[in-house]
């Protein structure tokens, strides 16, 4: 009944706190289960991206690498769109060159600093 009034007065237009609890738990547990500290997680993401960028031009702004839970199995799900630009192959070559010059020391450096706080 109160649920009905909540809906009428738009109070539950926002998510119910129980579904919020469930979402938060799913996020917390998938990280608990993989047992990988945040800075290692970020380093792993950067490394995955670096490898893929060697072969295709990646649309860096829309990359999404995250942990997910399916029953009691944890998965790393990566959505890594290719960049649509015409000179994507050139871009890939450029990145490849860059990677060889500075083999990801810059990346891990920034990641570590960013994660300290």
């Amino acid at each position: 009944m109160s649920g009905f009034f909540d809906r009428m007065f738009g109070r539950s237009s926002s998510k119910s706190s129980s579904s919020l609890a469930k979402e938060r738990l799913q996020f917390i547990l998938v990280h608990d289960r993989i047992n990988l500290p945040p800075e290692r997680m970020e380093a792993m993401k950067a490394e995955i991206l670096a490898v893929i960028s060697k072969y295709v031009a990646v649309d860096q702004d829309n990359v999404d690498i995250a942990l997910q839970q399916r029953n009691r199995d944890s998965l790393i799900v990566a959505e890594i769109p290719f960049s649509q630009s015409k000179d994507s192959t050139d871009e890939a070559k450029r990145r490849l060159g860059q990677d060889m010059d500075t083999p990801r020391s810059d990346q891990s450096g920034t990641v570590d600093e960013a994660d300290d706080f």
Binding site: S2, S16, S17, S18, A21, R24, Q26, D32, R33, R72
Partner: protein
């Protein structure tokens, strides 16, 4: 007779392990089972109080382990149920006074004489927890529909799996059906979805629980208590009976009352 050793544990403290152990013990005894309860919460003993047996303690678990008494001397017989016993924890010692091997030895001695050995685990994932699950044939994880309690339950499930003690079963305690309905509390489905283990009971938040522990008479002996009914159902499930879960809708609804009337039980 070869007893089944059932350990009640949780990770998080205060979620209802001792309440569950006491009530399942009494409910199983009422079903005619021979039951012994072991309080493995050394240093913070409570099970004797919930059972109303605190003034009958002479020897405790650590006395048995350290050879100051025979196992039988530490077993307190319940006043009302002659086939129900309690082995209390030591109050003035800590968890390191007991080892997993001690627990296995004690339960092995008890197994031939009982149907069920229920072990009340301390909170946490340390030595006390490892003692409590060392000889378990079945583990019941108690949790509440709250983020932190479910998270700790998950940790326990992971540890049990890693030690080949799974699959554990879940008791979801202190459920408030009205809050679930309003979307203010996770439902049993939400929690089992997340933990991916089998549910063995849903116990409602119940005002009868605290008066029951005040008087040392486990709530399952109170026929008016819904939590008591839930524990009776869990006890029957432990004996292998297939007892359907009753939906815990709001307490007073006409259709719910009607449904309960026809199914002849609450949960």
């Amino acid at each position: 007779m070869a007893a089944k050793v059932v350990t009640v544990t949780s990770g998080k403290g205060g979620v209802g392990k001792t309440t569950a152990t006491a009530n399942l013990g009494v409910a199983l005894a009422r079903l005619g089972k021979k039951v012994v309860l072991i309080d493995a919460d050394v240093g913070l003993r409570n099970l004797d109080i919930v059972m109303g047996l605190e003034n009958r303690i002479v020897y405790d678990l650590v006395d048995v382990i350290e050879g100051r008494c025979q196992l039988r001397q530490a077993m307190i017989k319940h006043k009302q149920f002659p086939d129900l016993f309690l082995i209390p924890a030591a109050q003035t010692r800590d968890k390191t006074a007991v080892s997993p091997a001690d627990m296995i030895q004690i339960t092995d001695k008890l197994r031939p004489e009982f149907d069920f050995i229920l072990i009340d685990s301390p909170a946490g994932i340390e030595r006390g927890f490892r003692n409590a699950v060392a000889s378990a044939d079945e583990v019941l994880i108690v949790t509440n529909p709250e983020v932190s309690a479910v998270r700790d339950a998950d940790r326990i499930i992971g540890l049990l799996e890693a030690n080949n003690k799974g699959p554990a079963k879940l008791i979801l305690n202190r459920v408030n059906p009205d809050m679930v309905k309003r979307g203010e509390m996770m439902s049993a489905d939400d929690v089992t979805d997340i933990l991916a283990i089998k549910l063995i009971g849903i116990v409602p938040e119940d005002e009868h629980v605290i008066p029951a522990s005040n008087s040392g008479v486990p709530v399952t002996l109170n026929e008016n208590s819904k939590a008591g009914q839930a524990f009776r159902n869990i006890a029957r499930r432990l004996t292998g009976e297939n007892v359907p879960f009753m939906t815990l809708q709001e307490s007073g609804g006409f259709f719910q009352r009607l449904a309960r009337l026809f199914s002849g039980q609450g949960e």
